[in-house]
Amino acid sequence: MKALMFGWEFPPHILGGLGTASYGLTKGMAENGNMEITFVIPKPHGDEDKSFANIIGACNTPIAWREADWDYVKSRIGNVMDPQLYFDLRSHIYADFNYMSVNDLGCIEFSGRYPDNLLEEINNYSIVAGVIARTVDFDIIHSHDWLTYPAGIHAKQVSGKPLVIHVHATDFDRSRGNVNPTVYGIERDGMLNADHIITVSNLTRRTVIEKYGIDPAKVTTVHNAVEPLREELKHLDVPKMKEKVVTFLGRITMQKGPEYFVEAAAKVLQKVHNVRFVMAGSGDMMEKMIDLAAQKDISDRFHFPGFQKGKQVYEMLKASDVYIMPSVSEPFGISPLEAMQMGVPSIISKQSGCAEILNHVIKTDFWDIDAMADAIYSIITYPAMYKQLHEEGLTEVDGIQWKKAGKKVIDIYNQLLNR
């Protein structure tokens, strides 16, 4: 089966969880065999893993005819695209886009990030999608997250092939309810035009059905999974602290509920003293959190090491005794799974999508700081609690594989194509 996928991020150049999830899923689908996947992203860097999908960069797809010979194309974009593909794409330009600002190859520039003129970039991406949909051969279209819904719809209109959209998050998660009407419009339009909608958790599924008024019959949950840990990370050597460490990792924003972590920490510190709390990450609420910790008079035990990337994340986890994610609204949340891979017992909010598939973690309501404090205390005080969560967590997370998630997506494809 041939699938045409539209995404926005792709490892190693990722900005959030979306890239990790689309990569894992695509790879997992390929592992099931008999899948040919074309993955479109705004701006490839050439170092992406191409073993299981053909990657097409929107910024290398011509929308206006420019004369160019083979060698010139090869020298310009040879590292990210086969010149032959460029010429194939060029012969499928469907309208005159010369009025737009294009470069010497007839392509639009993309940042591939989340710039201020994001809406314009989304629109350009959909124009490019029209060219690609006319060139590439495929049976089904799959759009990851709202940025690519317009592209998916366009491809559907051009080809008449069924469209699946993948909801990794909705604007209700990002804004705690204060939705941006334009974004909501794009999201809802995508959902209405889709032949099937995949959500990353039942929590998101309910949002889609209730807040966007979508027919429940066409919404299916496929929970995310996690890539197996790389060998080198399994044996990280990190000096063990004398004191217990409780870690929060992630953007320090309203959505992640950092203030509840500070409150819980203050409760724990009233009773135990050999424990430190770490809030790693950056975000618009960081200063407020530093103030709050000072107010609670726990600054000597509450640390803000800033944004962590790559290997640092794993080192941080390795040194931790407890991982905590008190998110107010989390469509899925892969990070507790990564913590479990490192053998760190996790406490997550019930308002997180991953709570639906995890048993060997502690689940509390995000606002229930008493329960959270109690869970932290229990893990750092009772050795059996740590041991059981540590061991069972490892076993459990080993069973959560992208291949299984990929299989479910393929089943949905087959259903749509009546195979």
Partner: protein, 470 residues
């Protein structure tokens, strides 16, 4: 087949309230009174009370041919006394028919038999005392918590003077042997063993209202026919059910009450009698010896103790609890002793089982907690506070032996002081008597002779002070 032995088990634990770690050392009350009251009142209305009425009627209708055995835990009785006292009265009425036998148990449905012989003995004694006070019977047959049994426990039970034990007819123990005979125990050769017939028990307990079961619906006629069809030489079928089976697990609408009501009639038709366990033990001889090395139980598929002691959480909680057993035995604080009993209920460990993630929905069904981790955290917090209280009585820095020695010294001194006091009293009375006698004698002669008496009194006082100085 000649007879059926029917047992009912009644147990309710004292469920714990949500106990946070910051309550440790501050709050010494651990129980969720609201939940406990609600649960026992609800079950009593649906099951216990109507079932008692039914059994009483069955006994009367059958001219006392219908007999039944009960094992009721101390924690359940305490809750009845507190919340549903009418049930105790109803039970007394049932006991008065003479067709009811009470079987012994541990007081709080505990697993003490697996770890602490002394505690086990005390709890059984305490339970039997309570049963005697309420119903005037001294239990002669023993049934351990959830049928937990092995040779070692058998020896302990036998030493307490019981004639027989009821346990689970676990397949991995019996093998090809039938549970429908009386056996003797390898751990205590004089003691007889009765085995629960799991198949016939579960036909009622688990499958009675299961409409997907191929034998559904189960009628008294059919059920008695199965029992009658057992080989002739087999002696007795032991059916042991939770009392909630009647009316709670299978609601009235399933016809469970009518099913039981019809049992004696069909039994009589087939020539099957109802016996109490004591009758069975005295009438039947053991056919073989059975040895059980590893503890068996009536729970889960495995029929071992893994339902309570199957993971790290359960083991840590269990060991931590019994690590203070000796200390608690030395204490005399009544509230502490009471909490000690309540905290031992096996239910607390059952809630911590992680088995239900894979199978055994039974664990999740009865648990007041959302997850086994929550159950563990809550229990450990309570236990931490409990241990703090034990330590307040006797600091842990003193070794048990030393403490024992000190306590004996104190006790000895106490008895010595008492003895000396007694002596002192005796001496005092003799002196007083002497004085009185002397005074009377003098008064009879001359009233002026008062002076020498006082001098003599001070003289005796002086001698006593001299004595203590030495």
């Amino acid at each position: 087949m000649s007879a059926i032995c029917l047992y009912f088990q009644i147990h309710q634990p004292f469920r714990l309230k949500r106990y946070r770690f910051f309550d440790i050392g501050n709050d010494h009350y651990y129980y969720d009174d609201f939940a406990n009251e609600e649960i026992i009142s609800k079950i009593a209305q649906h099951a216990y009370l109507p079932a008692n009425e039914l059994l009483l009627q069955m006994i009367n209708d059958s001219n006392k041919k219908f007999k039944v055995a009960f094992s009721i835990t101390g924690t359940a009785i305490e809750q009845f006394q507190q919340y549903v006292p009418e049930f105790i009265d109803s039970m007394k009425k049932l006991a008065d028919t003479g067709c009811v036998e009470f079987v012994s148990e541990t007081y709080s449905h505990s697993l003490a038999s697996l770890t602490d012989e002394e505690e086990f003995r005390q709890q059984v004694e305490q339970h039997d005392k309570l049963i005697y006070e309420l119903f005037g019977q001294k239990p002669k047959v023993f049934k351990n918590t959830e049928f937990v049994y092995n040779d070692e426990i058998a020896a302990q039970i036998s030493a307490m003077g019981f004639k027989a034990v009821l346990t689970e007819g676990a397949k991995h123990i019996l093998g090809w042997k039938s549970p429908n005979y009386v056996y003797s125990s390898a751990g205590a050769p004089k003691m007889k063993l009765l085995f629960r017939n799991s198949k016939l028990t579960d036909d009622i307990a688990m499958r009675f209202s299961d409409s997907s079961w191929h034998e559904y619906p189960l009628t008294a006629d059919k059920y008695m026919a199965w029992i009658a069809d057992c080989p002739k030489e087999e002696q007795i079928v032991n059916i042991a059910l939770n009392y909630e089976t009647l009316g709670e697990n299978h609601p009235r609408a399933t016809g469970i009450f009518d099913f039981f009501k019809a049992l004696p009639r069909f039994a009589e038709q087939k020539g099957i009698e109802f016996w109490t366990p004591s009758e069975a033990v005295s009438k039947l001889k053991a056919v073989d010896v059975i040895s059980v090395t590893h503890p068996i139980s009536g729970a889960d598929e495995a029929r071992d103790v893994s339902a309570w002691l199957g993971n790290d959480l359960q083991n840590e909680a269990f060991h931590k609890l019994y690590s203070v057993a000796e200390r608690v035995h030395l204490c005399s604080d009544r509230r502490l002793k009471q909490d000690w009993l309540y905290l031992q209920s096996s239910d607390h460990f059952f809630y911590m089982s992680t088995k239900h993630f894979s199978d055994g929905a039974a664990h999740a069904m009865f648990s007041p907690y959302e997850s086994p981790y929550q159950a563990f955290t809550n229990y450990m917090n309570v236990l931490a506070d409990f241990i703090v209280r034990v330590e307040e009585q006797y600091p842990l820095s003193i070794e048990n032996e030393e403490l024992n020695a000190l306590l004996t010294t104190i006790k000895n001194q106490e008895s010595e002081i008492e003895m000396l006091n007694k002596e002192l009293r005796v001496l005092r009375t003799t002196i007083e008597q002497n004085e009185n006698n002397a005074a009377e004698a003098k008064a009879a002669e001359k009233p002026a002779a008062k002076k020498p008496t006082t001098t003599r009194k001070t003289a005796t006082k002086r001698t006593t002070t001299k004595k203590t100085d030495k």
